[in-house]
Amino acid sequence: MRMRPIKTSSFSSGGALLFAASQFPPPHREISGLFSFREQRAAIMAAKPEPTQLEKEQMFGMMEKEMEYRVDLFNRLTQTCFDKCIEKRYKEAELNMGENSCIDRCVSKYWQASQMLGNRPQM
């Protein structure tokens, strides 16, 4: 028995990447101290007219890590809020109003929590 392909356009777009790629500078200033590619890049650009190959590699490495972090954040956020907001019975294919607001609020709270924890914890 073959299933008809699902007709939604978002599938092939890898939504997480769109956000990861669009979010320079990083929103979490403290955690980005770990991957502060922007600061690094600025320093590299300011220090010499032409960054060395090694520095460029480091820069790319940082940016790649940064992107992977964003993508991971988005994926976890998506899964968590789905589990918290959507009933598993799947009575229909549409999201109802309750689910929509739940999703909005869940994303907002998750985001806030992630920013809070992004600051270096006070010892």
Partner: protein, 93 residues
């Protein structure tokens, strides 16, 4: 995928920009494949519980289909909100 999002990297030479774009493409493919697998696993786990036959019955089939559509719509909405928060847009309670 809109490469103009990499505008922040305007200062870089062309080949570096292309390299970034290629990296983004790769991550995108990997992310799509992973999402696909986790979607299948999730919908199967939630919808299929009995194994009396080796084919999905009508109920299971529509459940899986609804689950997938719902997840994709959910994912789109999350994406929208995530982008808004990243840009610091004020959102209603």
């Amino acid at each position: 995928m809109d490469k103009s999002m990499l505008g922040d990297l305007d200062g870089l030479p062309e080949e570096d920009k292309m390299r970034m774009a290629a990296m983004v493409d790769q991550l995108q493919i990997r992310d799509s494949l992973r999402m696909y697998n986790s979607l299948v696993e999730r919908c199967f786990t939630d919808c299929v519980d009995t194994f009396r036959r080796k084919t999905l019955d009508k109920q299971e089939e529509s459940c899986v289909r609804r689950c997938a559509e719902k997840f994709l719509k959910h994912s789109m909405r999350v994406g929208m909100r995530f982008a808004e928060l990243n840009q610091g847009v004020a959102t209603p309670d």
